[in-house]
């Protein structure tokens, strides 16, 4: 596997259609030729700063030409690109930086960055990362050869601390061979937009793996998924393929006023959480396209269960994407019969081989024979898979992970919380965190307290982790050894 395959593919596009728009950002265009040139310039910059093969390069940047170019420049010099979500908490950001130990941290110039990171920092312009410097004409190749180049994405762990998931550079090209032929067809003339950002496997795979991989045009959206901004971008740039999550589709449906021109869309994709069947129907009524639902994980690299155009089955995750093998097993690891829920395991190309610095987590998830334990539960009938929840207590809300322990620890710092448990509640097919609180004796458990507790979490954790409801209980269900039985709290 050529570890520079994505770079080679890009060079091919730049040779065949140099002036074609690769990226559109804030109304300005970056051509394929310019992108490749800028990657060379930034690769030179990384080498000048002694970034060696295998070194991590942390990228704390919005979805922007800067993030795309620095990411690919890191691969070009054999380093490991670590894109970090700008919206993580400061505590998580510092944890990630200390865990990954990057040689360099790249961030946006002109802003106040509050970080305890003592290492080398490089400021970059989000729209014009390479300025107007002349580039060498050397091809994009790993400085010292070998398979050291790659990227690492951080995902939430059940303890609440992020876990690094390393991938080889070649893993980025896997969706071009698996997902693209089955789901996209010929997408070279498409205009892509993703509401999932590049620090997430979904957003990274769609934007750099697929959009740039097929030589299409990618519209970059640096901000949060505001419905008006999204519909504005779709209309202005004639976006034809849109990748998002159910919560954003729902917010688009709620915000629509009938004046949006979404006629350019030919394909809408959803992942990150299971798409409720009514949302599928609503989007079809509005846009005249099927939202294709699928499932992938940070560890699997990209989507391996998917609906296909023309045969979408609402309320399902579709079928196994060619190139992957899937098993549903019981607690003993034996295959379950059709129609019985089981733990979802996957095998195929592009899977992560382990977690960064986490041998125990690695042993639990990366199994012999190349099988990956996802922690998801599914049931299969006639080849179609349906999501059935998690085998553990993790919650997916708004397409983003919520660790119950993290939210519980936060609530425990409030004086009116003696004990608490956080579990998922499901409303209209989507999951949200719910808090179950035992207040100390003498404390009035009413709506005001619930509001105060939610605000307490809101002030400390990302918004999607805030409990959608707070229920007060006299006690929490616990095992004989005192562990909270969160599955008994689910609503």
């Amino acid at each position: 596997m050529d570890s520079n395959s994505v770079l080679s593919i890009l060079e091919g596009h730049a040779a065949r259609h140099p002036s074609k728009a690769a990226l559109i950002f804030e109304g300005r265009m970056v051509s394929y030729d310019r992108l490749v040139r800028d990657i060379r310039v930034l690769a030179g910059e990384l080498l000048r700063r002694d970034v060696a093969p295998g070194d991590r390069v942390a990228l704390l940047l919005p979805d922007s030409p800067a993030l795309v170019t620095w990411f690919l420049a890191s691969l070009a010099v054999g380093a490991v690109a670590v894109p970090i979500n700008e919206r993580v908490s400061l505590a998580d950001r510092d944890f990630i930086l200390h865990d990954a130990g990057p040689r360099l941290l790249v961030l946006c110039g002109g802003r106040d960055h509050d970080t305890s990171w003592p290492g080398p920092v490089l400021e970059t312009d989000p729209g014009e990362p390479a300025g107007r410097t002349d580039a060498s004409s050397a091809p994009l190749r790993t400085a010292a050869g070998g398979d050291s180049s790659g990227f690492m994405l951080y995902t939430s762990g059940s303890t609440g601390r992020p876990k690094g998931v390393p991938h080889a550079a070649g893993d980025l090209a896997v969706p071009l061979r698996t997902f693209a032929p089955a789901v996209l067809g010929d997408a070279a003339d498409d205009i892509f937009l993703s509401s999932s950002k590049m620090p997430f496997a979904y957003g990274l795979g769609v934007q750099i793996g697929l959009a740039l991989g097929v030589g299409a045009t990618l519209v970059l959206h640096p901000g949060p998924p505001d419905p008006d901004e999204i519909t504005g971008l779709v209309a202005r740039h004639r976006v034809s393929v849109f990748f998002s999550v159910p919560t954003v589709y729902q917010s688009l449906l709620r915000a629509r006023s009938g004046g949006e021109d979404m006629s350019s869309l030919r394909l809408c994709y959803s992942a990150g959480e299971a798409l409720p069947a009514p949302a599928f129907a609503e989007v079809r009524d509005w846009l005249g396209v099927d939202v294709l639902d699928g499932l992938g994980t940070t560890e699997s690299g990209f989507v391996f269960l998917s609906n296909l155009p023309g045969s979408a089955s609402a309320g399902t995750l579709g079928r196994v994407v060619p190139g992957y093998a899937v098993r549903l097993v019981d607690e003993r690891g034996d295959d379950v019969p059709t129609g019985t829920p089981g733990r979802l395991r996957v095998r195929g190309q592009g899977l992560a081989r382990g977690y960064w610095n986490r041998p125990e987590s690695t042993a639990k998830a990366m199994l012999p024979g190349g099988w990956l334990e996802t922690g998801d539960l599914c049931v299969e009938e006639d080849g179609f898979y349906r999501y059935q929840g998690r085998a553990d207590d993790m919650i997916k809300s708004g397409g983003l992970w919520v660790s119950p322990i993290l939210v519980e620890d936060c609530l425990q710092t409030h004086p009116a919380v003696a004990e608490c448990g956080v579990a998922r509640c499901t409303l209209h097919g989507l999951d949200y965190p719910a808090a179950f609180v035992v207040p100390p004796a003498g404390v009035e458990a009413d709506g005001r307290l619930a509001q105060a507790l939610r605000r307490h979490v809101r002030e400390r954790l990302p918004k999607h982790m805030v409990p959608a409801m707070v229920e007060f209980l006299p006690t929490l269900p616990r095992t004989a050894t005192g562990k909270i039985q969160r599955h008994k709290l689910r609503r």
Binding site: R254, A255, G398, G429, A450, Q451, R455, M469
Partner: protein, 76 residues
């Protein structure tokens, strides 16, 4: 039952919608375009179920876009 606008706005505040968003709401425009986001919506629906004992179905929820829509539904 009767639910006044004031009671409904009070519920929005309790559900976590920012006070300046609640203060500035145009009752005839979609809430999702006025700062009520995808994390506020489930909290609002759950609070309505809890406080007014009204259970809103998924189909109904899709049609509740403005403050006036909510008032009409709750005062049926």
């Amino acid at each position: 039952m009767t639910v006044t606008r004031e009671e409904l706005l009070d519920l929005f505040l309790d559900a976590g919608v920012e006070p300046d968003v609640v203060d500035g709401l145009d009752p005839s425009l979609p809430l999702a375009r006025q700062g009520v986001d995808s994390v506020d919506y489930p909290a609002i629906l759950l609070a309505i179920a809890d406080r007014f004992k009204v259970s809103i179905s998924e189909k109904e929820a899709c049609e509740l876009k403005t403050l006036e829509d909510f008032e009409k539904r709750l005062n049926r």
